[in-house]
């Protein structure tokens, strides 16, 4: 199902800065990222590492100012997103790429009914849809709500977001994002704002729908278990850098970057060992990021070179010849610690 040749979406060397009072925050630092046709890609990393910013930049919905893009390219279906006209952008959004936002309460307009918002999304989803009359739009909206297993959709259409529960709001958001029949669906930590049982339902629903419709899919999350279940390939992001990318199974069995290893260790296991200490330290200051690797300050294996230079990306060949890349000097021949790899065997 995954087309290995054509990237649907490709990001090259993208940087994003936020110009704020007192300086410039270098939030994204030359990141590379791609999604193949039909592929399900995960993006993991701590809160505040730039996952959402990356997605908002793809859709060009970051408020500018304060945000600015000093360098980089974004290609979607062979088109350069950065040079798109307003019209082309509107065409790409919705039908080409659509997005489920992290917090459904913030992502729904509080003063319009679900129906008003949903029909607006459907109306502008494609040129044909603009000719739909109100009754047809309403029918399509009902369909979108039924699809996400919401009971009594007729009533829901006339409800305001405040009248719905968190889980219902997230379902509405998912229904809205899918109502445009997008080629690529981005889900930004769906369910993080919900309690665990509801979160599980919502994710299961999302997984089913993506499977059913065959959308390409980007899942942003910091819950590793979800990534393992729902994606083919995973990117690991740290403080505005892409630090590692690998096929999902491989990443979980053989994480290479010290940060990825730390992330995996931070997951509590049923088999004992208790809750880990987590990764000591915190995300560096975006205003004055370290000159070298941004993780060097927290890295248990940091070497002198890590503080001086930004690590390039090293391709590591996996057993099945799957592409596994990591931005860490530990995998550069001259620095390689002879028995380091031995420590990296799956737990």
């Amino acid at each position: 199902m995954v087309d290995q040749e054509t990237p649907l979406l490709e990001i090259r060397d993208l940087s994003v800065n936020f110009r704020v009072y007192g300086g410039v925050l270098r939030v994204l630092d030359r990141i590379n990222f791609h999604v193949l046709q039909g592929e399900r890609v995960g993006l993991v990393g701590e809160t505040g590492c730039g996952k959402t910013t990356t997605m908002k930049t793809i859709l060009q919905v970051l408020p500018t100012p304060p945000a600015e893009v000093p360098q980089g390219e974004i290609w979607f279906q062979g088109q350069d997103v950065m040079t798109m006209s307003q019209r082309e952008l509107v065409n790409m959004r919705g039908q080409g790429i659509s997005m489920i936002f992290q917090d459904p309460t913030a992502a729904l307009n509080p003063v319009f009914t679900v129906g008003q918002q949903l029909t607006a999304v459907i109306r502008y989803a494609s040129p044909e849809n603009r000719n739909l009359n109100n009754a047809q739009l309403r029918e399509r909206a009902l369909e979108a709500l039924r699809q996400v297993a919401l009971a009594d959709p007729e009533r829901l259409l006339d409800s305001y977001p405040i009248q719905l529960s968190g889980g219902m709001r997230q379902r509405v958001c998912i229904g809205m994002a899918l109502s445009t029949r997008p080629g690529l669906l981005i889900a930004d930590e769906p369910g993080t704002a919900l309690d665990v049982t509801i979160q599980d339902q919502v994710l299961r629903l999302l997984q089913d729908l993506v499977e059913q419709q065959g959308n390409s899919f980007i899942l942003i999350t910091h819950t590793l278990g979800i990534v393992r279940q729902m994606t083919d390939r995973v990117y690991v992001m740290y403080a505005g850098n892409m630090v590692e990318v690998a096929p999902t199974q491989r990443l979980f069995t053989n994480p290479l970057h010290p940060y990825t290893q730390g992330l995996m260790d931070a997951v509590p296991r049923l088999t004992g060992g208790g809750i880990s200490e987590g990764i000591p330290g915190r995300i560096p200051d975006y205003m004055n990021p370290p000159a070298g690797c941004r993780f060097s300050g927290r890295c248990p294996h940091a070497m002198p070179v890590c503080n001086r230079e930004k690590p390039p990306v090293f391709q590591v060949q996996g057993p099945a010849d799957e592409s596994h890349a990591v931005a860490c000097f530990l995998y550069d021949e001259p620095h390689k610690v002879s028995n380091y790899k031995a420590e990296l065997q799956p737990v």
Binding site: K56, L59, V61, L62, P63, P65, Q86, V90, N91, M92, R93, G94, Q95, I97, S98, M99, F101, Q102, D103, A106, A107, L108, N109, P110, V111, F112, T113, Q116, Q117, A120, V121, Y124, A125, D158, Y160, I162, Q163, C173, M176, A177, T180
Partner: protein, 354 residues
């Protein structure tokens, strides 16, 4: 509009009833306050009305007529009973029922305040939207400077500036008539509402309408400038705040065109604070009109009130303050209604607490 169904209309009606019921108490309190204030002021109203050389017995007769020598409580009781029957007493200066005076002068002020309201609402929201859409650009900076100036400049100063530069060729342009509601040679249109512009249209006298509007523009613009600036500032700040909300990013991300996002999904939530401020400004403009009316020689209620205060014309003062109070209450009820219609959160919360 499809967002108000029968159930919500019912709720709106109940809300209205409740607010009107509450206002009765507010008005009752206000009546006590204005009654006391006008009585405790120093000076003998009868003496002032009749002049320094009036004989003592004439003055005593007027004092008896006005029950000025009765205890305060009894005076209030008399005034209140009469007021309930629609009789607010006679004016000491114009020597006729205060109600007649108000019916004559209020429409002129209302016309002024209404047009000022329209100007400040349309102008303020437009400027605020422009400013927010082009945040930190030269448009935004220009609007901000102008609205700061508008907020700090009192209406009467603006009125004097307008009068100087836009009514005579001597200093500026002879664009507008300097005083009054109609040029000489024009008859007031047959009275229906008392608003010359409306009445002239009703009577089909188009020339009179143009002339009345021509007279109206300058004073109402002078009056509107302060509230216009205030609304522009509020709209700008709410809107630029809302622009960074996730729901705006989400609506854009889902392919809704910019025009619809700004003109519909951003505008509606951003108008809510503006409407509340607008209501306060609108009612306040009725009293801000005092000096504007004097400067433009506008025969309105504010000018009437100014003279009433100088002459200690008790009944007139009480009546005018009562009118201002009623206007405040009515406008605030309207504002609450509009805000309720704009914001379901308030509407639904209100219903829940019932």
């Amino acid at each position: 509009m499809n967002f108000l169904n029968v159930e919500e209309l019912q709720r709106l009606f109940l809300f209205l009833l409740r607010r009107i019921f509450q206002s009765i108490f507010v008005l009752f309190g206000l009546s006590i306050l204005i009654f006391l204030l006008s009585r405790v002021l120093p000076g003998d109203p009868a003496r002032m009305a009749l002049g320094a050389r009036a004989p003592q017995e004439t003055i005593q007769r007027l004092r008896d007529e006005m029950h000025l020598d009765e205890p305060l409580l009894q005076q209030y009781q008399i005034w209140f009973t009469n007021a309930l029957g629609g009789d607010l007493g006679d004016s000491l200066r114009t020597r006729r029922p205060v109600v007649d005076d108000i019916v004559e002068f209020l429409p002129a002020s209302m016309e002024l305040v209404l047009l000022a309201g329209v100007i400040s609402a349309i102008g303020g929201i437009t400027l605020g939207t422009l400013s927010a859409r082009h945040k930190d650009s030269w448009i935004d900076n220009l609007v901000r400077v102008i609205s700061y100036m508008g907020v700090v400049t009192p209406a009467f100063v603006v009125a004097i500036i307008f009068l100087t530069f836009f009514t005579t060729a001597e200093f500026g342009l002879d664009l507008f008539p300097p005083i009054g509601r109609l040029s000489s040679g024009f008859e007031p249109p047959p009275r229906v509402t008392g608003l010359y512009t409306v009445d002239s249209l009703l009577a089909g006298q188009f020339d009179t309408f143009v002339n009345a509007l021509h007279h109206l523009i300058l004073p109402s613009l002078a009056l509107a400038l302060g509230s216009l600036s205030q609304e522009a500032r509020i709209t700008r700040s709410t809107m630029s705040d809302n622009l960074t909300r996730d729901y705006i990013a989400a609506e854009r991300a889902l392919g809704i065109p910019e025009r619809t996002v700004t003109g519909k999904f951003l505008l509606k939530p951003s108008l809510i604070p503006t409407v509340s401020i607008f209501g306060l400004d609108f009612a306040a403009n009725l009293s801000n009109a005092f000096l504007v009316e004097v400067i433009f020689n506008w025969p309105g209620i504010s000018r009437y009130a100014t003279t009433a205060m100088l002459y200690k014309d008790l009944n007139a003062i009480a009546a005018v303050i009562l009118i201002l109070g009623v206007t405040f209450i009515v406008v605030n009820i309207l504002v609450d209604l509009v805000v309720g219609i704009l914001d379901p959160r308030i509407r639904l919360r209100g219903a829940r607490s019932d």
